[in-house]
């Protein structure tokens, strides 16, 4: 008796749940997971990344969402490292049950998150520039790799500044060494010579012996790739204090840091896929919308935050093309779609990476960046030859 009754209650409950479940999808939002370094090394840039994602989601929702569904953001702190990323990805993928991951993170965090994304079989759009060659059927990248960033600076120095002897200085970590290893190979490929390649540990702050070596070697040009933030600032200040006036290409500086450094940053060359000075209607509209939404809270949009904005639109386009959020179909569609954003038209069509228009800029006396030259559709090269598209 009791058994039958409880069974029937159970069945009724199950029926209710089934009914709820079938009625829900129309109202259920599509969840976008954003694991990002709110604490740790990336904490300076992370707020601008989150703002970009918020603007994109708000704009899309205001226009009716994606296939009639609203977008919702789930932001999680990955503490800029591997251990934090495992927790963040785990909770986003298996507890919050997000439909996609879109984020700018450190390479350590990306590498720690990828196996979890693979287990959850979700699309993951990585929006940070990085050292390249991270390949997974679930991973798409819409930011630059060394093959896209380095050649504009080296070519400009070689052609316009008649530089043939280069000196390289970096921080001793994967990105610093990776960038300079590529730079060295590229300089030698175009017939130049690398006179020295020097590294200081990440927490080091006295560059004196390296600067003395640089002055002793008397190169034509200098290219640096330090960790962002403090090491970059100390190196630049000490270079200027030592009277170094060589053509100076900095692979790690962004507009915000350059502005803060004041006079010391003047004359530095940088290469990026986004600078605020891009003269296009899409960029102007984007900057105006950011200003309107965040006002005084606005973190200056940059080369790490703008790809996040575009990636949300890329995901929207892929879902619309796939006709739903089914991961396999979306992953296939991501390679085929393109979006028009502040950086121009972006398609992640080359082995899950994107050909990008790169800008060579020079820091001015007022801290602004003047675009000297742009290089349209620079190819990311052979990043993942084993992936089909």
């Amino acid at each position: 008796m009791t058994l039958t009754r409880s069974l029937s209650t159970l069945l009724a409950a199950a029926a209710c749940t089934a009914f709820l479940a079938s009625a829900a999808p129309a109202a259920d939002p599509i969840k976008i997971g954003v694991p990002v370094g709110l604490s740790g090394a990336n904490s300076v840039v992370a707020p601008s990344v989150v703002q970009s994602a918020q603007l994109a989601v708000d704009e899309i929702n205001a226009k009716g969402g994606v296939l009639g569904r609203q977008l919702a953001l789930e932001v999680a702190d990955d503490a800029s490292g591997a251990a934090g990323a495992q927790k963040a990805f785990d909770s986003l993928v298996f507890q919050k049950k997000v439909d996609v991951l879109i984020s700018m993170e450190t390479s350590a965090a990306r590498n720690a998150g990828l196996p979890i994304v693979t287990r959850g079989k979700l699309p993951y759009i990585y929006t940070s520039f990085y050292e390249g060659k991270s390949c997974s059927p679930f991973l798409y990248v819409n930011a630059w790799v060394p093959e896209q960033q380095v050649p504009p600076i080296v070519d400009y120095f070689a052609k316009e500044k008649k530089a043939s002897k280069f000196f390289l200085i970096g921080s001793d970590y994967a990105f610093g060494r990776g960038m300079l290893a590529f730079t060295k190979a590229y300089v030698e490929k175009i017939g130049g010579k690398v006179l020295g390649e020097e590294y200081l540990p990440m927490d080091g702050s006295d560059w004196t012996p390296i600067i003395s070596k640089l002055k002793g070697a008397a190169p034509d040009a200098l290219i640096t790739s330090t960790a962002g933030g403090a090491p970059n600032v100390t190196l630049t200040k000490q270079l200027r204090a030592a009277g170094v006036t060589l053509p100076y290409g900095n692979l790690a500086v962004d507009e915000g840091t350059a502005k803060g450094m004041g006079a010391d940053a003047e004359g530095i060359y940088l290469s990026a896929s986004y600078v605020t000075g891009i003269d296009s209607p899409a960029n102007k509209a984007f900057l105006a919308a950011m200003q309107k939404k965040f006002g005084t809270e606005l973190k200056t949009p940059n080369d790490l935050s703008v790809p996040e904005y575009e990636a949300v639109y890329a995901y929207k386009a892929a879902v619309e093309k796939a006709g739903g959020t089914d991961a396999t179909k979306v992953l296939k569609a991501l390679a085929e779609i393109s979006v028009e954003g502040p950086r121009g038209k972006i398609a992640m069509s080359k082995q899950h990476h994107a050909p990008l228009t790169m800008y060579l800029g020079q820091v001015q006396a007022d801290g602004g960046v003047r675009v000297i030259k742009s290089f349209a559709n620079v190819d990311p090269g052979e990043q993942c030859p084993n992936l089909k598209n």
């Binding site: 904490s43 300076v44 001793d172 020097e198 590294y199 200081l200 540990p201 927490d203 080091g204 702050s205 006295d206 004196t208 012996p209 390296i210 003395s212 070596k213 002055k215 002793g216 933030g229 403090a230 600032v233 100390t234 200040k237 000490q238 200027r240 204090a241 030592a242 009277g243 840091t257 803060g260 450094m261 004041g262």
Partner: protein
């Protein structure tokens, strides 16, 4: 060659400036102030605030000394005083204090890297070599700090009491010297010196909440092997700083970063009491 010599001298001067405050506290109180790095940071942020208020950069170290000294004295009253008999606990407590200060600085100023303009810029020609004038200025600053401190220790009543406390605290107390007050003032001066160091190195470095940390281990090692005397500290800075520059120049800067720690460990193995009373 001239550049190398200048590199060694200026590096030694910076190391001396950074470790002087730690030495003062260690010499008198026989405790290691692990919050030293935070007081360097406090000095740097004081210089930052001073420059925002439009104070001339020359005054920044003086203001930093005041701010660092006052906060240091307060910390002594609240945290350190209870732990004089327990040097190991004092290390932990000052380490905790440094975490608290670091977080407060982060709350107040944010995590981002900030900038203080240098009072002098450009280079000076020395024997036909262009060399950073600010680094040369730091050599002068190191001598000024050493000079002032020697004067304070040898030429004033406070210095006399301090030396008495260093030599034999019980006897000093018996003679009516208020050793608690001496300790309070010494800790304040030590923290003030750390803050001066922070204000002095900022034009060469960035200002961020963790900036002091990279100097702590080097300063700690130098103070340990110098065994508590100012002239020996100067000598250790010159020898170990010199070897660091040589290793960085001729082998690799990454190895250079290890020089002081490794050599100091070896030196302490051979001579655990340091080199002061040789």
């Amino acid at each position: 060659m001239i550049t190398l010599v200048l590199d060694i001298v200026t590096t030694a001067a910076i190391l001396f400036i950074v470790s002087a405050g730690l030495l003062v506290v260690f010499g008198v109180m026989k405790i290691i102030n692990f919050a030293h790095a935070s007081f360097i940071t406090i000095g740097a942020y004081t210089a930052l605030v001073a420059s925002r208020f439009g104070l001339p950069p020359v005054l920044a170290p003086a203001v930093a000394f005041l701010v660092g000294g006052l906060i240091g004295a307060a910390a002594e009253r609240i945290v350190v005083r209870q732990l004089y008999g327990r040097p190991l606990d004092a290390i932990l407590a000052t380490w905790g204090l440094s975490i608290v200060i670091g977080q407060l600085v982060t709350l107040g100023f944010g995590r981002e890297v900030q900038f203080v303009p240098a009072p002098v810029s450009g280079t000076l020609a020395i024997f036909s070599e262009d060399y950073s004038s600010y680094r040369l200025l730091l050599v002068v600053a190191a001598f000024v700090i050493a000079g002032l401190f020697t004067m304070l220790l040898n030429g004033t009543r406070l210095g006399l009491s301090t030396r008495a406390v260093i030599m034999n605290e019980n006897l000093a107390q018996g003679l009516g010297i208020d050793s608690t007050r001496v300790r309070l003032i010494t800790f304040g001066i030590g923290c003030g010196l750390a803050a001066i160091a922070g204000a002095l190195i900022t034009p060469l470095a960035s200002v961020d909440p963790n900036m002091g940390l990279s100097w702590l281990i080097g300063a700690f090692m130098l103070v340990m092997i110098s065994g508590g005397s100012l002239p020996t500290l100067g000598l250790s800075c010159l020898v170990l700083g010199g070897l660091q520059v040589l290793a960085s120049t001729f082998i690799s800067p990454i190895l250079g970063g290890l020089t002081i720690a490794v050599l100091a460990a070896v030196a302490l193995r051979l001579r655990p009491e340091g080199f002061a009373r040789a």
